[in-house]
Amino acid sequence: MEMQKLYLLVPLAPLFGAMIAGLFCRVIPRWVAHTATIAGVAVAFIASVIIFKDVLAGHTYNGPVYTWLTSGDYTFEVGFLIDTLTTTMMLVVTFVSLMVHIYTIGYMHDDPGYNRFFSYISLFTFSMLMLVMSNNFMQLFFGWEAVGLVSYLLIGFWYTRPTAIFANMKAFLVNRVGDFGFILGIGLVLTYTGSLDYATVFKKAPDLASISINIWGTAEWSLMTVTCICLFIGAMGKSAQVPLHVWLPDSMEGPTPISALIHAATMVTAGIFMVSRMSPLFELSTTALSVVLVIGAITALFMGFLGIIQNDIKRVVAYSTLSQLGYMTVALGASAYSVAIFHLMTHAFFKALLFLGAGSVIIGMHHDQDIRNMGGLRKYMPITWITSLVGSLALIGTPFLSGFYSKDSIIEAVQLSHIPGAGFAYFAVLAGVFVTAFYSFRMYFLVFHGEERFGKDHDEHHDHHGDHDDEEVSVDHHHGLAPGQKPHETPWVVWLPLVLLAIPSVAIGYIAIEPMLYGDYFKGAIHIDHHAHGSMEHLAEHFHGAAAMGVHALTTLPFFLAFAGVALSWFFYMKRPDIPAAIQKKVMPIYTLLENKYYFDKFNEAVFAGGARLLGKGLWKGGDVAVIDGVIVNGSAKLVGMISSITRLFQTGYVYHYAFTMIIGLFVLMTLWINRA
């Protein structure tokens, strides 16, 4: 059928682009690299739109494309599951990716790794599409690891910076922890259902709900709870939930376009997507949902606090991403999967917009990322200013903008949820609204309004990025504006994606809320046990249309909290900049706690890294050097070498020796067999 070829085209087009840009990165000129990759992603986007229309017409698909390996009773296949959930993700991924590709032309303009960068982001698009289009756990895991790999490569894109190498190693290691849980979960699924295919697994899952297993001791665990928590640990790593969130802020070492694409809009939401896809499993375990809910709530609130004290423009947005991922996770915990996906979609648009806006500011500021050195950029970069304002307003949940619909739906869904932990989660997401508004507008005011602080001698402020010496990588990247120099608006390839992303950031919520949350849109893709987890059903009772929701919101608590957050940040950073400093002095211990990010990094470094190093050293000295190297490796190598030099002696070069060997061989065979017969 024609549609199947189209499905295949979606991931393969970006892969083709990545291969052209990657394999020939040394020989092709820059325009070939960006044309090939952008064409690949554009084809994928157009195909996704066609598939989306087809799916809306009711044509879903679930089937294999290629059988990779059959081992015993298990079949490992590459296959596609095309339904509304998949197509939603495909549209988001290809659209944001396309925007980022275009933006990159401007952002990486002076970078020597231009072609390599394009190859990576196209490869990422391919991997992400394979992940979301999968119809089985194996391909999901492949996509999962592939996006992780590309993320690793891109965080360390400027590989001569020690901090970038540190950050990508950290991201890789932390994700290992998550992936370990994930693969355990997949292993449990395979063991108990005998299949890796989604449809088969979901069909068998209800029968497994009553099974208990022993993990250790005599404690009985519900199989579904263990499986779901294991899978969720995978999601925690990829979607940066506490305590596996530590890699995401550091990932900002990578170039800004990938921060937008991978570490805000798409890859980090893979965990959210995965849990939604697994809704038939998660619905079977209220305990697992409670865990999801609480972890999400902690992330949503406490990562927001950290956003308040950051001075690096990208880190503010990064902590805001962490907090928003927490919101999505909370929605998953409340069984409001469709709301989580809805927020994922709106967030993808406005967060990509904010990141790309931040990148545009960074270009304007000549790669100075410290917001204390900015101010008053409104005049110099009008398009960046307007689009960033739109993004910020969407983020804090201004009524009628996209973020409002998704975030308010989450808050209401949590309010209506009755599973353990829902009370705390409700408080956390509500408080989070105030915090989000406060840090978002702190950044906004510091960057675009107030006194112009750039162009001064500001060496003392270089605490985050000022000391990065990337001269070897990109000679043109000098830091900050010279005294007297003014920022300037960025070229069209940079601001055009901003404008194109601002449109859905404003409008998509209003358009999509009714069909996505309350219509039949996700029917068949997401499964909810309404009897046990009824918040979505109750939510639908309260809903009277998108316009009514927006008007009603003006009288509710979240709106006032958001408004209060904006007002307070305006007062603090525009009117009385002395107050924050005074507060900082008063509550030094809390500030220190936040400054050290709740000591997560220190703890990890001391306990896990230190412990691992100690263990590693022990094994190295005792096990590796003595036993393995000494006896097994070198010993066996010596043995093989010895035998090999002996066999060599047989090859004398004399033909009568050769003939003799043949005759002996014949003689031996004959003696053995003639005696037998």
């Binding site: 093989v640 090999s644 066999t647 033909v655 043949m662 061989g665 004959m670 067999w673 037998r676 017969a677």
Partner: protein, 494 residues
């Protein structure tokens, strides 16, 4: 006298007849060619092979056809193996051309004509349904090869290698003939399918039969080059001009596989328990000696020679796991033999590519056949270093190259038949073998080049070597069709 002479059905042997006729025509044409580069001879040779390919393809109707009084058979296995054979020889001749032109002593039309006669010999072997036909094809192949090895007659190494090959080959032919005569003595026929029928009827003297079988296996083992009948391989591979080594190291393996199938499986399946046990001994010895001795080599051709020994040992594992406990289970048999066939085809591809690489790097007065010569290839040409890397990875059996799937298929057959210990041994020796393949990779990527001159090979060789390596990679990703073809071809003749 000629009253009851019936003109045999010539259609099943049409490609052979065409090739024979063309080879004779070429002998004459070559006399008239004045061109030093022998372009006409070369082009006609290749066209002949393409013609054979087309005729083979066109006359193949999926039926088994016997002709020449049942001495000759044309079935799907023959069709498929011959198609692979033509492709291999065409590829080999393209690789060799640059090498031959640059070497005065070899730059003659005879090279191509001998290659054609050798090909004819292999075709006859593949289609043999009579012990004498097997012998006829084998001798035609061998005699052509002896001459080819000795073509560079001013080279002491080459002539010595040819001499050794000739003497040992004659000995092996003797063994084979003696075995055939014993089987004739026991069954009263030399027709392969007839032998199977006679044994099935009963009343055959088992001792005489097994006596013959031992000699037959010895002769086959020489042709396959498995221990202890392998001694000629390193010397001949090393001593022959690389273009000839490439020829010996690729296409004849297909023919050797075919006569093994014809004689042992089609003819003597009733003795499977006996010959399987013999082949197990030969296979284990080959994998051991082949892999261990390869480590000590400094010459790449010699290393690949030992590698060939170990690969043929590995291939035999599939043939030994067909019959379990004396019972012939059609599915098991088919699975086992088709895994071996897949292995042979995969090996021929990898072997041709590897020797092709040597030819690619060789130039006038420089053979480039030492491991040293591959040092730092990545600096000289990252593309071809990448190609060689794929070939070496595939030879070592690293996923996902065709070599991996070939090993995987054979091991699967071995395990299904219950020889788990044999699979363990095979994997252990493959691990030892991985060392010397990976050493080539290490030399290419981590060492400094000793010779920085750029690659001067002609474009057709470059493209073909690249295509060859890429096919090795591609078949690793999509092995399904080839596996299916092998199964299909063997299903008919079993």
């Amino acid at each position: 006298m000629f009253d009851n002479f019936v003109v045999p059905d010539l259609l099943p042997a049409a490609p052979e007849l065409f090739l024979a006729a063309m080879a004779c025509v070429l002998l004459l044409v070559d006399l008239l060619v004045k061109d030093q580069r022998r372009t006409v001879t070369f082009a006609l040779t290749q066209l002949t092979l393409v013609g054979c390919f087309i005729i083979q393809f066109a006359t193949s109707n999926g039926q088994i056809a016997y002709t020449f009084s049942n001495m000759f058979v044309d079935d799907l296995m023959a069709d498929l193996l011959k198609l692979f054979l033509y492709m291999t020889v065409i590829m080999v001749l393209f690789y060799s051309r640059g090498y031959i032109i640059e070497r005065e002593a070899m730059n003659k039309g005879e090279y191509y004509i001998l290659a054609l006669f050798a090909t004819l010999g292999m075709m006859v072997m593949i289609s043999a349904n009579h012990f004498l036909t097997v012998y006829l094809g084998l001798e035609l192949l061998s005699l052509s090869l002896y001459a080819m090895v000795a073509m560079n007659r001013d080279s002491v190494v080459s002539t010595e290698a040819a001499m050794k090959y000739f003497v040992l080959g004659a000995l092996a032919s003797g063994l084979l003939l003696y075995g055939m005569s014993m089987i004739y003595g026991a069954t009263g026929t030399l027709e392969i399918t007839g032998v199977a029928e006679r044994i099935a009827m009963g009343g055959v003297n088992k001792t005489v039969l097994v006596f013959g079988l031992v000699f037959l296996v010895a002769g086959l083992a020489f042709k396959l080059g498995v221990v202890p009948f392998h001694m000629w391989i390193p010397d001949v591979y090393h001593g022959a001009p690389t273009a000839v080594t490439l020829f010996i190291g690729s296409a004849p393996k297909l023919a050797a596989f075919a006569i093994t199938m014809r004689m042992l499986v089609n003819g003597l399946l009733a003795l499977a328990v006996d010959w399987q046990a013999m082949l197990i001994i030969l296979a284990v010895l080959s994998m051991a000696i082949g892999n261990l001795a390869a480590i000590a080599q400094t010459n790449l051709k010699r290393m690949l020679a030992y590698s060939a020994i170990s690969h043929m040992g590995f291939m035999l594992l599939g043939i030994v796991s067909g019959v379990v406990g004396g019972r012939v289970d059609p599915n098991l048999v088919l699975n086992a033999y088709s895994s071996s066939m897949f292995y042979v085809v995969a090996y021929v591809l990898m072997s041709a590519g590897s020797f092709g690489m040597i030819l690619l790097l060789a130039r006038a007065g420089f053979e480039s056949d030492n491991l040293e010569d591959f040092k730092g290839l990545n600096k000289r040409s990252p593309w071809f270093a990448g190609m060689m890397l794929m070939l070496m990875f595939s030879m070592a059996g690293i996923p996902f190259f065709v070599g991996f799937f070939a090993k995987f298929a054979v091991l699967q057959a071995v395990v299904i038949s219950g020889y788990v210990w044999l699979a363990v041994v095979a994997v252990a020796f493959s691990l030892v073998g991985a060392f010397y393949y990976l050493r080539v990779v290490k030399l290419m990527y981590f060492d400094q080049p000793t010779d920085a001159s750029p690659i001067s090979a002609p474009m057709d060789t470059r493209i073909l070597v690249s295509a060859n390596a890429l096919v090795v990679a591609l078949l690793g990703l999509f092995p399904g069709d080839l596996v299916h073809l092998c199964t299909l071809a063997l299903a008919q003749s079993l």
